[in-house]
């Protein structure tokens, strides 16, 4: 190599390098774990504090030196929380709204996604693009008019008002359509040749293949009902139809004066519990759905 004047890399004291490398590696590993575990503890702390507080007597809770596990475990806080916030009725309301709206929403979503993925009709692409464009608009913009609409329809303080306006999610249609598109068209053609009807094909082939997406949608929809706050407060804030989040917030702001925090924390824990159970058993689907959605509920 005439024109290239280069020297190979310098040789170092290999033993010293090896020792240094082992130390650095160990320190980095320790640092990473320390950081992650500290962050994890910070993330977990509110949950721990919720449980801890919910099991204390009011007097113990007020002690100026906090206790990290209750001296006297007050399971009874949960009973009074249940009673104070009328959680039973709230649970029932939320489950009714959640289940009905999920089922109806799934049916509508599947039908539309199928039409967009497999059927041919004039204006399909334009319609789909138009739908996608509405996803950019913040929901509040719709709410203003919808509030008036449901009032005029006389839907206020009914289950209907909690279910119908949110039945169609453009995002879910989009998600499912993408999933349907991945299923080879040949399957559809083969089914047509065999004389299978569209609906039967949808039911027997498409839905089983898109099941994970459908499960994700179901969970997100249920979580949405569980966490919805603004709309229910606006249009169905009567005791008969009140949903869980709203009821929880109301139960502890309506009481003036002395707030019984342990009971409040017990109520919060009770409200959080179902979500945790769903999470524990269906973590995979939730994470799958969430990573694609970017929205809560």
């Amino acid at each position: 190599m005439n024109d290239v004047k280069m020297e190979t890399m310098s040789e170092k004291d290999m033993r010293r390098v090896a020792v240094r490398q082992a130390i650095v590696k160990g320190l980095v590993k320790f640092g990473v774990y320390a950081f992650l575990i500290i962050m994890a503890l910070i993330v977990l702390f509110p949950f721990y504090w919720m449980i801890n507080s919910s099991l204390k007597t009011l007097d113990e809770y007020r002690m100026s030196v906090p206790t990290f596990w209750p001296h006297k475990v007050m399971i009874s806080n949960y009973a009074s929380a249940y009673k104070t916030a009328n959680l039973g009725k709230l649970f029932v309301n939320t489950v009714i709204v959640g289940v009905v709206s999920t089922i109806l929403s799934l049916i509508i979503t599947v039908l539309s996604a199928f039409a967009f993925a497999r059927l041919e009709f004039k204006g399909k692409d334009m319609l789909f693009a138009g739908l996608l464009a509405t996803m950019m608009i913040p929901g509040e913009l719709f709410t203003i008019t919808n509030y008036g609409t449901v009032t005029q329809l006389g839907w206020t303080n009914t289950y209907t008002v909690l279910i119908v306006p949110f039945l169609v999610s453009v995002f879910y249609i989009y998600l499912l359509r993408q999933n349907f598109l991945q299923i080879p068209n040949e399957l559809y053609l083969a089914a047509k040749v065999d004389g299978t009807s569209d609906l039967k094909y949808l039911w027997r082939v498409m839905i089983p293949l898109a099941l994970p997406t459908l499960i994700s949608i179901t969970i997100l929809k249920m979580m949405g009902a569980w966490n919805s706050y603004i709309w229910p407060r606006l249009v169905a804030n009567d005791a008969a139809h009140r949903l869980i989040t709203n009821g929880l917030r109301n139960a502890f702001t309506e009481t003036t004066g002395d707030v019984n925090y342990p009971v409040q924390m017990a109520a919060v824990a009770l409200v959080s519990l179902p979500l945790f159970l769903v999470f524990v058993f269906l973590r995979k689907y939730i994470m799958q759905g969430v990573s694609r959605s970017g929205t809560k509920g």
Binding site: M39, S64, V65, F121, L248
Partner: protein, 314 residues
């Protein structure tokens, strides 16, 4: 694609979705714009037969409104604080998670937990944690009602307790609490997306960089961040959109007061302003505010996209 002779069939499949969308999505778009441009439009008066003239008065009024400016300021401050903090923290946690083997699954699950919570419910827990030791309403002869763990910890380390959220608290303290809570709430989604992105980066790039003798910091800055830039852009954009729509987390901590007991509405946000206007039947004002919110989100999104187009690699 099958060329169906029966086009009407497709429309039957779409009918339920279109019906709902027409009433609750398409019509509101037009109607909200209409209401925004009708001077002082009020739903209540409209049903009583009142008519309104066309004009931009709603927008002018909203922008002159002190409370709206305060809401806008709160929203901006929270956005500017929480989006960078949560993105950087999420990036560090995701990179950390991606580099370990033992405990990875369990830590990943823990970091996702805040996602499956009710932001009102856990807001109440945070409120309890940030409570003060002392009087709640500031009135004389009042019971000493609560003890918040955060102030206990501050005292334990010899600091003076801070009035975070109660009667007489400082604005900056309020914002600090909101920032902590919103970041805590925003982490799971960001970690999930970024970790997913990290795991899809070809491991060979890291092998190559290691063989080339890159330090960890250089690998992070020169390989990880650029290759993750599409995911980072996504997380930042959704973070800003979410930030501009902040509302329930504040209700969770401060209640519908949207502020400490002595200064209700101090922490109100743009969305809160829209609902307040709605509840006083000032649909015109609410619509104008909603359109302004939409405009801001649009501008920020486009700005983000423009910046990331320049910065996002490949």
């Amino acid at each position: 694609m099958v060329n169906s002779k029966h086009q009407w069939k497709a429309w039957i499949y779409l009918a339920p979705a279109i019906a709902v969308l027409l009433v609750f999505t398409v019509w509101p778009i037009f109607n909200t714009v209409r209401m925004a441009f009708l001077e002082n439009y009020s739903g209540l008066e409209a049903t009583n037969g009142a008519t309104f003239s066309f004009g931009v008065g709603n927008f002018v009024k909203v922008l002159k409104y002190k409370r709206f400016i305060s809401c806008l300021k709160n929203t901006m401050i929270l956005c500017v604080l929480t989006v960078p903090i949560s993105t950087i923290l999420a990036l560090l946690i995701a990179v950390g998670l991606n580099s370990i083997k033992p405990l990875q699954k369990i830590l990943q699950t823990i970091f996702f937990l805040p996602y499956v919570t009710n932001s009102i419910a856990i807001g109440m827990v945070f409120a309890a944690m940030f409570n003060i030791v002392g009087a709640f309403y500031g009135t004389e002869n009042e019971l000493i009602v609560t003890a918040g763990i955060i102030n206990n910890v501050i005292e334990f380390f010899g600091g003076t307790p801070v009035n975070w959220i109660n009667y007489g608290s400082q604005y900056s303290a309020n914002i600090a609490v909101m920032t902590v809570y919103i970041v805590w709430n925003a982490l799971p989604f960001k970690i999930l997306v970024l970790l997913g992105g990290l795991q899809s980066i070809n491991k060979q790039y890291y092998d190559a960089a290691r063989v080339d003798g890159s330090s960890r910091r250089r690998i992070f800055a020169r390989i990880t961040v650029p290759l993750l830039s599409p995911m980072l852009a996504y997380v930042v954009i959704t973070g800003f959109i979410g930030g501009f729509k902040e509302y329930t987390s504040i209700v969770g901590i401060f209640g519908e007061n949207m502020g400490p007991a002595d200064d209700a509405g101090r922490l109100n946000t743009m969305v809160g302003f829209i609902y307040d206007s709605l509840s006083t039947n000032s649909q015109g004002r609410a619509s104008a505010a909603a359109l302004i919110l939409f405009g801001i989100i649009l501008v920020v999104t486009l700005l983000n996209l423009y910046v990331s187009k320049k910065k996002v690699h490949y």
